[in-house]
C-alpha cells in the first residue's frame, strides 16, 4: 500500500521551545490516522505544518511523493476541517461548498451538480440555500466536511471538529465520520485530545507528548500494550502502583509495593533487580474477591465508594496514597459492599504492564 502522507524528522521551534520535535510519520492511502495528545503537546502545530499554514524548521513533508515544504496552502492537495469549522458566514451552504470548486474554475452548472451530490452524500440534500447560521451543530459539521470532500483532496485534516458538539451528538458523529471516511476513501488525519474519539475512529493512532510521538499503533494495541507509562495512563483509565523490582524473568517481573505486598506484571522493557518501577493495571482487569486463582497478584484495599454507571459501574478504593478503580460486575457475583470495609483486588499478571520508574 502506498502512503499518502510521509514525514521525516519534522521540527518546528518557537524560540527555545520545540513544539514539534523530530516527528516522523507514514500514513497509508485511504486510512484514518489520529494524533492523540493533551493540549499543548504540539498536535495543532503539526497539523498546521501539514496544511501549509506554517513551515517546518527542518524535516520534510511528502504527499503522494511530492515534497510539500515550500508549497503554499492553496496549492496543496490537502484540505482542513477547522476546530470551529470556519464556514463562511456571509455565504450560503451551496456557496461555501462551491467556493473551492470556483477556485478550480469549475463551470457553474458542473459546480451546482457536484454541490448537490456531495450534500446528498453527507445527508443534507436540498439545504444548499440555507445560511450556515440557520443550521444545527451537526448539520454545520457535515457542511464543513462536504466543503472539503467535494474537492476530492488526497488528504483531509481534521482539527478536533467534534469538540463543539454536545456529548450525544459527538457520539453519533464519531460513527458517522468513520462511515464517511470509508465511503469517500479519503485519507483522514485527525487530531484530538479525546482518546475515545481516536480509538473509535482510527486505523492507527499516534500518541503525542511534548512534541514527540510516544507510540504509533492500532487502537487495540495502544490500549493493551502501551509503550510508555504516558500512553498507559493517557489512553483509557489505568491504575498505577509503585514499588521495587524483586525479580525478573522473561515473562514476569515481581515487584514489592511501597505499601507492602508483592505483585507481578509483564515487563515492557528490560528491568534490573532493585530498580524502582511502576505497574499499570486497567480497572476492568482488576477483579474483586478473595477467591481468585493462585496465579493472580493480590492487594488488600479500603473501599471508598461505589460508582454505579450500568455496565461501567466501578468501585473506588484506597491503597496508601493512591486511589484505585476496579470494575464492578453487575451480575451479582460481588456482594453488597460497604464503604470503609477491606476489599481484596487481584489480576492476572499478563494483563499488567511494568515500566521502569525513570521513564515516567
Amino acid at each position: 500500500m502506498s502512503s499518502d502522507l510521509y514525514c521525516t524528522d519534522l521540527v518546528r521551534r518557537f524560540g527555545e521551545h520545540r513544539a514539534v520535535d523530530q516527528v516522523s510519520l507514514d500514513v497509508p492511502a485511504g486510512s484514518f490516522f489520529s494524533i492523540l495528545g493533551p493540549s499543548g503537546c504540539g498536535k495543532t502545530t503539526l497539523l498546521r505544518l501539514l496544511a501549509g499554514f506554517d513551515r517546518p524548521d527542518s524535516g520534510d513533508i511528502f504527499i503522494r511523493d511530492q515534497r510539500m515544504n515550500t508549497v503554499p496552502p492553496n496549492k496543496r492537495p490537502v484540505n482542513m476541517v477547522f476546530q470551529h469549522l470556519a464556514l463562511f458566514p456571509t455565504m450560503s451552504v451551496a456557496d461555501n461548498i462551491g467556493y473551492g470548486l470556483k477556485r478550480r474554475k469549475v463551470a457553474a452548472a458542473e459546480r451546482r451538480k457536484k454541490t448537490e451530490r456531495v450534500l446528498e452524500q453527507v445527508g443534507l440534500p436540498g439545504l444548499g440555500d440555507r445560511m450556515p447560521q440557520q443550521l444545527s451543530g451537526g448539520q454545520r459539521q457535515r457542511v464543513a466536511l462536504a466543503r472539503c470532500l467535494v474537492l476530492e483532496p488526497t488528504l483531509l485534516l481534521l482539527d478536533e471538529p467534534l469538540g463543539a458538539l454536545d456529548l450525544k451528538l459527538r457520539e453519533q458523529m464519531k460513527v458517522e465520520l468513520k462511515h464517511l471516511q470509508k465511503a469517500f476513501g479519503t485519507t483522514f488525519v485527525y487530531i484530538t485530545h479525546d482518546q475515545s474519539e481516536a480509538l473509535v475512529m482510527s486505523d492507527r493512532v499516534a500518541v503525542m507528548r511534548n512534541g514527540r510521538f510516544d507510540q504509533v499503533a492500532a487502537p487495540d494495541v495502544l490500549y493493551r500494550e502501551p509503550a510508555t507509562p504516558f500512553v498507559a495512563s493517557f489512553v483509557g483509565d489505568n491504575n498505577r502502583l509503585d514499588g521495587e523490582v524483586l525479580g525478573v524473568d522473561n515473562e514476569r517481573v515481581r515487584l514489592r509495593l511501597d505499601t507492602g505486598g508483592e505483585v507481578s506484571g509483564r515487563p515492557s522493557s528490560a528491568l534490573a533487580v532493585g530498580q524502582r518501577a511502576s505497574l499499570f493495571i486497567r480497572p476492568e482487569s482488576m477483579l474483586i474477591g478473595a477467591d481468585l486463582p493462585a496465579s493472580f497478584s493480590r492487594i488488600e484495599t479500603q473501599l471508598s465508594t461505589t460508582l454505579f454507571d450500568g455496565a461501567n459501574s466501578r468501585i473506588e478504593t484506597r491503597l496508601g496514597e493512591r486511589e484505585l478503580f476496579a470494575r464492578l460486575p453487575q451480575d451479582g457475583s460481588v456482594g453488597d459492599l460497604q464503604p470503609g470495609t477491606t476489599v481484596s483486588l487481584g489480576w492476572e499478571p499478563q494483563r499488567a504492564t511494568v515500566f521502569a520508574e525513570a521513564q515516567v
Binding site: A51, F53, P73, N74, H84, A86
Partner: protein, 286 residues
Amino acid sequence: MNRTAGKLSLLLLLTPFVLWIVLLVLLPHVQMLRVSFQVRESWDSLSWGVTQYSNFFAESYYWRTFIRTGVMSMLTTALTLLIGFPIAWYIAKLARGRARGVLFLACLIPFWASELVRTYGWMILLRESGLFSGWLQALGWVDGPVELLYNDAAVIVGLVYNALLFMVVPLVTTLDGLDDNLVEAGYDLGGNHWNVLREVVIPWAMPGIVSGCIVVFMLTLGSYLTPTLMGGKDSAWFTQQIFTQFITRFNWEQGAALGVLLLVLSSLLVWLGLRLTGQNLRKVLG
C-alpha cells in the same frame, strides 16, 4: 408602583438625550428650513417663496460646486478606504499586545490637535518654500522650488488625513471579529490573496466598510477649513458657499437653503450608495 418608578427613571435617563436632540439638532434644522423659504426685502418685511432654491438650480456655480464637492468627497472616501484598510488589517490581525495599542494611539494622536493646526502642518510641508519642496531640491529631483499646495490633490491629501481615523476605527472593530480560521480556510480551499480578500474578508467587513464610508463621506462633504486653506483658487467647496452666504453676504436665507440642500442631497447620495452596495442602515448599525 414599581412600573411607575421604572418609567420615571427611564424618562430621567432619556431626558438629556431628548433635550440634546430637540434643542441642538431638531430645532436649528426646523428653523433653518423656515428661513430658507423666506424672501427678505428689508428688516421689517418678509414674504415666502422658493427663490433661494431656484437660485441653486439656476446659477450653475452652485450646483457645479455641489457636484464637484460630491465627487471629490467620494474620491476622498475611496482613497481613505484604500489606505485605511491595510492599516486596520495590520492593527486588527497582525499587531499583538502593546504594538496594537501604540498603533491605535498613533492614529489618534493627530486628533489631539485641532483641524486648523493639522491643516497648517500640511501647509508647512507642501508649500513652495516648504519641507517637501526643499527635500526634492536637495535630492536633485527638481531644479527649482515646486508648489505642492493649492491644488485639488493637496486638498484630498488633507481630507484623507483628517478622515483616516474615522475609517480605521469601524474597520478594526469588524476585522477584529473575523475568525483567523476563516481566512485560513479561504486559502486552504484553494483561494489566492485576491480570492480570499474579495470573497471572505470584504463580505465580512462590509458593515464596517459601509459605516466607515458613510462617516468619512459626510465628514468630508461637510469639511470647511481644509479645502479653504489648502485648495487652489478653483477649489470651491460647497460649505464655503454656505459660509459665504451666512457670514460675508448676510444672506441667511440663501445660506439656509444651501444648507438644507446639502443635507438632503448628501442623504440622498448615502441612500443611493447603500442601495448600490446592497446594504441597509440597520445592518450597518448592527
